[in-house]
């Protein structure tokens, strides 16, 4: 009845080695073709258009793009902004995820509800909320006035300082969710082991929790960074003209300067930069596999 199983030490059979049985080639081809064709048309064609448009003048558009005075500044600003937002979001998001799994049930419910509320409502609507908060005579001004702290109108709206909390809030769910799922699948016995062998909270966190959530923090951070590179609505509404991002400059080239070739060249640079960052990060941290 019990046939002794022979296992090779040190060579665990990974599920990936097992071939899916009973799969015909035709089947996988049929299923994957429609979405792949769709990608070729819906993603490939616009990108192709960008490339041809940007090279209409024989590549002059790229030189012109770099000469647009606002472009270089906005490029720097966008990258700095994306980095700052990423760091703040990951730090806050990790604390948020830890708090969700570590708090009593009623508090966990409240924290989850806040997270889901902001995940489910549109970025634009949330940015409107921040505008109302930050307007010179806005809600924050009123709130400070309650304590007698607001003599003059608030100078927060359409400033860099005023832009960051809103962007962090908008991006926060994307940093919380992956860390939360990593925390939920953390090995309980390892936490117990650390406790049993005398480790305090800091050592336990450093030796068990941290290494198990770090990959998710990184992939959440990469996603936030990449999305922040393409940020348009929130900086437009809250940052004002002095805080224009690359997206804003592209929009200006298209709709005001009427130079679609420069807009296309800038778009190519933006898409290219974003994709390079994303693909490198994807190879390094397996970002795509953390989703789903």
């Amino acid at each position: 009845m019990s046939v002794p199983t022979i296992t090779m030490p040190g060579a665990p059979v990974s599920p990936a080695v097992r071939k899916p049985l009973g799969v015909s080639r035709a089947e996988s081809r049929w299923l994957l073709w429609p979405p792949l064709v769709f990608f070729a048309v819906a993603l490939g064609l616009p990108l192709l258009m960008l490339v041809t448009q940007s090279f209409e003048g024989g590549g002059v558009a790229y030189g012109d793009a770099l000469d647009v005075p606002t472009f270089a500044g906005s490029l720097m600003r966008t990258i700095v902004m994306a980095v700052v937002v990423m760091v703040l979001t990951v730090v806050l998001g990790t604390a948020y995820a830890l708090a969700i799994v570590a708090s009593p049930v009623w508090l966990r419910f409240g924290l989850l509800a806040a997270l889901i509320l902001s995940l489910w409502t549109s970025i634009m609507v949330r940015s409107f909320g921040w505008m109302l908060l930050e307007l010179p005579q806005g809600a924050l001004h009123w709130f400070l006035g309650l304590f007698g702290l607001a003599d003059e109108p608030l100078e927060l709206y359409q400033t860099t300082i005023g832009m960051y909390p809103a962007m962090v809030a908008v991006m926060l769910p994307f940093a919380v969710l992956p860390v939360m799922s990593a925390l939920q699948s953390i090995d309980r016995e390892q936490l117990n082991a650390a406790t049993i062998f005398g480790a305090g909270p800091l050592l336990t966190f450093r030796s068990v929790t941290w290494p198990q959530i770090l990959p998710s923090m990184l992939s959440g951070g990469v996603l936030v960074f990449v999305m922040a590179l393409g940020f348009y609505v929130t900086p437009l509404l809250l940052g004002g003209p002095s805080n224009m991002t690359v997206s804003g400059v592209i929009n200006a080239q298209m709709n005001q300067a009427n130079r679609p070739d420069i807009g296309a060249a800038m778009s190519i640079l933006l898409v290219g930069g974003t994709m390079i960052v994303y693909l490198i990060a994807d190879r390094l941290f397996r970002v795509s596999e953390k989703w789903g």
């Binding site: 117990n192 049993i196 005398g198 480790a199 050592l203």
Partner: protein, 352 residues
């Protein structure tokens, strides 16, 4: 630095579930006690109570007479081998073993030397630099054991230590763990649902069922003198047959049954049809005969519809045993028959 463990009338409720219903157990210094029971019997909860991972509703727990109920797990100085081993995957084997010393803020040199000493003890010398992922199951278990012993704990707890190993390795590791435990001389409490493991490794085995300890005894006493039918059936194969006046009573209807005889299959032998039968015997039709290497396993079906299992030496001539034919089996040594008296709770040591 081994200690005496004493548990007195411990109750634990998890949610609406009364998991431990008044458990008392004393373990002598250096003794190896195994908690044996089906899943859900509360054995792991009891282990967690000793480790400090589970608070008790009431009852007492002392190490060497010192009360431990209010002591956090970090301060109890216990070593645990977890079911999954719970080795820290991103630390080397040496760092894993030295972890308890790191938690106690011991100097690096001491950590290194203790790790090497412990790895030598579990026969993995020179493995300190390896990563746990590169080890086999048996090696991981040795590392987990080395880590559990590294801080020189007063008591060692093993949670289903063999569950993750395959059968052959399991037998080997049972011997190995026992060797190390004897060598270190540490008080050990183990949890398992594998009876062979319990019998092989322990000085005493505590049978748990539904949150209480049914019987705590040496493996041999448990096997020979079970207090009730549950223990008898739980440990090894047993024929449980009604008795009256020192005989097996197959047709119990109308007769005065005074107990249940526990007869182990290996204590039964065939009685040729011409011979007179000893007092402890039973007759039936051959139902099933199978060859299992070290024995023939013979199954009789008595007239009363009971199944009787009998182990016969592989040297016998099996050709005479035909399914459907009648056969008699008997136990010649009345000492080997254990009778559980019919009135529950009083375990009579009646023999013939």
């Amino acid at each position: 630095m081994t200690i005496a463990l004493s548990i007195t009338d411990v109750h634990v409720t998890l949610g609406h579930n009364h998991v431990l219903k008044g458990v008392s157990l004393d373990v002598r210094p250096g003794e190896f006690v195994t908690l044996l029971g089906a899943s859900g019997s509360g054995k792991t909860t009891l282990l967690n109570v000793i480790a400090g991972l589970q608070a008790v509703d009431s009852g007492h727990l002392t190490f060497d007479g010192v009360s431990m109920e209010r002591t956090p797990p970090q301060k109890r100085n216990v070593g645990v081998v977890f079911q999954s081993y719970a080795l820290f995957p991103h630390m080397s084997v040496g760092e894993n073993v030295a972890f308890p010393l790191r938690a106690a803020r011991r100097p690096a040199r001491e950590r290194k030397s203790v790790a090497e000493e412990m790895l030598a003890l579990v026969q993995l010398p020179g493995m300190a630099g390896r990563s746990p992922a590169s080890l086999s199951g048996g090696q991981r278990q040795r590392v987990a054991l080395a880590r559990a012993l590294a801080a020189n704990p007063g008591i060692l707890l093993l949670d289903e230590p063999m569950a993750a190993l395959d059968k052959q390795l399991r037998e080997q590791m049972q011997v190995e763990v026992t060797r190390i435990q004897r060598k270190v001389g540490i008080t050990t409490v183990s949890v398992t649902h594998d009876q062979t493991e319990a019998l092989t490794m322990s000085d005493r085995v505590a049978i748990m069922r539904d949150g209480i300890l049914v019987q705590v005894d040496s493996p041999e006493d448990l096997y020979r003198h079970p207090v009730d039918e549950y223990v008898a059936g739980f440990l090894g194969e047993a024929n449980l047959l009604p008795t009256a006046g020192g005989r097996i009573l197959d047709d119990a209807a109308g007769a005065e049954v005074d107990g249940t005889a526990v007869v182990r299959p290996e204590d039964l032998e065939l009685v040729p049809s011409g011979e007179a039968c000893p007092a402890w015997h039973v007759e039936g039709a051959i139902h099933l005969l199978s060859f299992q290497g070290t024995r023939f396993r013979l199954e009789l079906l008595t007239d009363g519809g009971r199944k009787v299992v009998c182990s016969l030496p592989p040297s016998i001539d099996a050709s005479t045993l035909v399914v459907g034919e009648r056969a008699r089996v008997a136990c010649r040594n009345p000492e080997r028959v254990h009778v559980i008296a019919a009135t529950p709770a009083t375990a009579a040591m009646v023999a013939a």
